[in-house]
Symmetry: none
Subunit: 202 residues, 4 copies
DNA sequence: GATGAATGAGGATTCATTCAT
DNA sequence: CATGAATGAATCCTCATTCAT
């Protein structure tokens, strides 16, 4: 890779890092491009060399984070359905917590804005996550881990809203609600009884 | 009540109604005080006779809505715990849906902003809702509807994040995710297995 | 006087007192009619029963204060010119200090604004004060206390700018510059040498 | 210096010039940022590229003006104390008059506002000017131009309030009180008798 | 690619003042 | 006289984005 290309990549990373730092630290409502570039030690205009709109930076920060979850799921093909779902849940929460509650808030704010939709694919995150869950469950049905009459769509709905619900509860409280603690009980109290009727008898 | 007082009340209502209409109709990000007052047919300054900050209007719209749920719960004391929880869930969703998805988005945006916290009590909504749920469950334990070893706190967490999760899924999709439809299956598929282990034997 | 008239006078006084208190306490830039009426426990509109413009209140507060100086001078006709001038100076400063430095600041701000001129006579305060000083000196010349060739106009200028200058220095510092302390040395160090050449030989 | 930097400097100057012009011309109370930028032919936001707050522009206008006085004093080291003080006084008044009475009013308004204090050093102008005067007098004492027992602090107070007093008298009258005329007599009638007792015998 | 000066739309909020009750 | 709801002008300042260098 050329030096120029490498420099460019580095500049991009500096901006992204600065944004992460600022958002994590404290800025929720009023993070400006100026804040970011000043903190990244680059000129204001440089931001627009790498990002079309100010908002995109949040998605760029979160993209690799979500990609990691998918990757991790690859290594779980040999595990049981319950374990796989728990792992998905835990991975998700772990990644969401990585950058702190303010990043989560910022992301939520972007993601619920329908105006953002046409401009970037992340607003289809919900659908994407649902598809992922659906795949896990469908595969389990096909493998006869779950019964043929498993109400996949309904279970997807339940699990996905549980997942997103925890994020919101976290955003709304940031002290009372500890997602990490939460997930520990999820499998036992929520997932097990939910799937119990559909687990194939062995 | 004097005519003046009545007029004042009416003006306030006009502003609130205009805001509801505008938010419901389309405005998510960029609803301005100007829009509201123009639509309400009052002077711009009049807005500030009734509301301290632009943001307060959302909370004022939602306050009676949330109050209604509490009221409704009073009439359910003779019903079983499962029924009561379902009813709470349905009431909640029904009220949230009343003003449409954009109101829900606006509310979420306010409620996740920690800066809003000190200024109004609605940001403790989460805690308030959890307390309500906790009461319902605790009463059931005391009534021996639920076993003594029911993990109340965990169930509260599960149910509350389910509730809020549905709101977010709705905000993120507004076509795919129909909360009303959703709630119909909630009792059967989610709540029943969740509580099953703790229902007292009769 | 009728009860009504008395009540009215009382209301007026309440407003004036509230304004004095607020200005003295802290408000310099942003004292509003609302602040005043709320503090005076009357309705906002009541303010305008007694004062045409918000600004007038400062002048109304200061008017009696300045009137007192004139009155006091009446009792000094038997004193020598140096003593009379010192007394004038001291009275002036004493009154100016009565309501504190913020009142002084407020008054200065009004008084240097030429837009205020046509609306009220206090902006001719400078001319009025100069006339007063001129009278004191002219009388002294007529009495042969001062020589016939005393440059009255020049002395008036010197003394009046000294007087106003101290007010400004006070406004600009409010800790370093203590007008009261100041006046003690005024007679000895400033006034005596200034008049010395013109004092009639006896 | 790069063309860009030069352009920027020019833009700043355009804004400053426009402000001077508008203030000098007529605006006292209601000069807006809009007025300034429109008159300077730049966008409104450009103002804030160069000045943090609207108020700062007055101080920026006056800064070089006050700096000049200090510079000029350097060339007076060989003159006598009376002459030096007269020169200081005249320079001061000359600079103050340069931009007209409305600039002086605007400056006074800023300078007496204690809220402005923390934000910029000009509000310590009084102290700064007093230090300057004190230096002039102290040097004279050290040079044996003035007697050892000269009450320096008192003289500083007298002279500085004279100086500022003239500014206020000017602001309050703008026709009656001509600072320039005034200063001509200052040395003869005010300063000479004031210092006379302390001039060292030669 | 990087810069940073210039843009200007955009929106919240304040408050003196009026006037019908 | 007292009230206080209604007014709406008045203005500040922010900030994402562009573009010439």
């Amino acid at each position: 890779m050329s030096t120029r290309k490498l420099n460019a990549l580095n500049t991009r990373k500096k901006i992204l890092n600065a944004a992460v730092e600022l958002i994590s630290a404290n800025k929720f409502e009023n993070l400006t491009v100026d804040d970011i570039t000043r903190s990244a030690n680059v000129a204001k205009g440089t931001f627009y060399t790498y990002f079309k709109r100010k908002e995109d930076v949040v998605f760029e920060i979160c993209r690799p984070l979500f990609a990691k979850i998918e990757q991790r799921m690859q290594n779980m093909t040999d595990k049981g359905i319950l374990e796989r779902l728990c792992f998905y849940f835990e991975s998700f929460i772990e990644e969401v917590e990585r950058y702190g509650v303010n990043m989560c808030r910022t992301w939520v704010k972007e993601v619920i804005d329908p105006e953002n939709a046409p401009k970037n694919f992340d607003t289809q995150k919900l659908e994407y996550d649902m598809t992922m869950l659906r795949n896990i469950l469908t595969t389990a049905v096909e493998n006869n881990e779950l019964k043929q009459d498993t109400p996949v769509e309904i279970l997807v709905n339940i699990i996905i809203s549980q997942l997103y619900g925890m994020m919101i509860c976290w955003c709304m409280s940031d002290t009372k609600f500890e997602p990490k603690e939460w997930t520990k009980t999820f499998g036992e109290y929520q997932l097990k009884p939910l799937l119990a009727p559909y687990l194939a008898d062995i």
